[in-house]
Assembly symmetry: C3
């Protein structure tokens, strides 16, 4: 990633500027429109295979699907939208699987389940209403910056699919890429 | 929705590709720019009428506002931004109102309220600080893919406005559409 | 912000339309393309200085960095992406610091920490696993509408950086602006 400060940020010392991509005229060469490119859109729906209840790292599965598409974007945003109400997408630690296990432990402690739980919606099983709540706690969509053809996540970040139901089912994710 | 695998995904068997929209040159007809269109933006602020404390399905209210705008986008993203700190937007089950009631029950159990609650910020009433916390738990914004002129949510997904204050007030949502 | 109802919304009375920006042909002057502008992208990474554990209002720090860039966008979206898994970004009340303190109190009550906590992932200290969980509860990214060169947040909204670790470290945020 290119590292420079544009003149307009030169006097802002406390917060360090690491990178700037733009499709406006470039600062050092204002006559050039080399950075200009027509914005593009790409969208597809992928189906992630069934996973057992818990948190699962799916970054590599997703990159297999969109890696080639991503490589065409210098700067943009990738949006991931899970089309379900009993699972969730979140970004968290990509290394130690204990973090994913502990997160599942937390979710099961914070959302009551079973005969003592206060839910009215129980027709689809004792794990269903807790699954809906967990889905809203973590959310069903993510937006990640694209920089130089890659998802610009931190070193330790990865994309998790959190399956909140006991019975594993495949899960659809609508992926939308937009950028230059 | 068109269903095909582009050549570049042909070898990726485990994850099924369901759809691909792009405004790049199409794979099967590289000379054609039929898919190319100028990206467009539309933005408006709507005001949702006052609702009692709890979770409310507002998909149809929102679609009444943006349905015609949406129809002009083949592929894109719709962004919904609630301009308040004591309510939230989330996506969850669109059918059984018990799911919304149970979610409200959960929120009231997980965030303490009343004389035993540990809050310092109590000037605006006992429901105010819990409302702020719930707003950050569920969030104040949503991004939903647009595909073929519609919000591309799952069959059972809907947009909820969660009102966390006791006294109902109208709530503003800035809606931004972007796509081709 | 311009306030008008476009003809296509004239029959939708219950939900008040406050504003509409578009780069399509304008309704009142269909021959004019005055609203049309080429979509633009800008992206940079900023580093927020170390903060103690707790919730911190960082709107002004962020605006110092991107205010000039923002002023070039009439309509668009600003995306903020924290590249870490033990801190979070959220939007909440921008006035009373007690709200931020109470939110930190809530997070520490809802996520167990210390010797009685059930975590397996403890190598990086007792505050580490709780920090990961809090990061997924509030999330690591925000999307905010841009209107007339400014972040279009509500009167009482501000951007918070929530630091979940005991030891303060600087935090990187990738900021992506997109609009017309």
């Amino acid at each position: 990633m290119q590292t420079f400060c544009s003149p307009c940020f030169a006097t802002r010392v406390p917060i360090r500027v690491k990178a700037l991509h733009t499709n406006q005229r470039t600062v050092n060469n204002p006559g050039s429109m080399a950075e200009t490119a027509a914005p593009r859109w790409a969208q597809k729906t992928i189906t992630l295979p069934p996973q057992k209840r818990g948190c699962h790292l799916v970054t590599s599965q997703i990159l297999k699907e969109i890696g080639q598409d991503l490589s065409g974007f210098k700067c943009g945003l990738a949006h991931f939208f899970l089309q379900h109400t009993s699972a969730s997408l979140t970004i968290n630690e990509n290394y130690d699987s204990d973090v994913r296990d502990d997160t599942e432990t937390f979710l099961n402690r914070v959302v009551p389940e079973g005969t003592s739980a206060p839910w009215k919606h129980t027709l689809e099983g004792p794990d269903d209403m807790p699954a809906h709540i967990k889905s809203s706690m973590f959310g069903c969509s993510l937006t990640v910056p694209i920089t130089n053809g890659k998802l610009n996540m931190g070193t330790w970040q990865g994309i998790w699919l959190c399956e909140h139901r006991d019975y594993p089912t495949s899960r659809r994710v609508v992926i939308t890429l937009n950028g230059i």
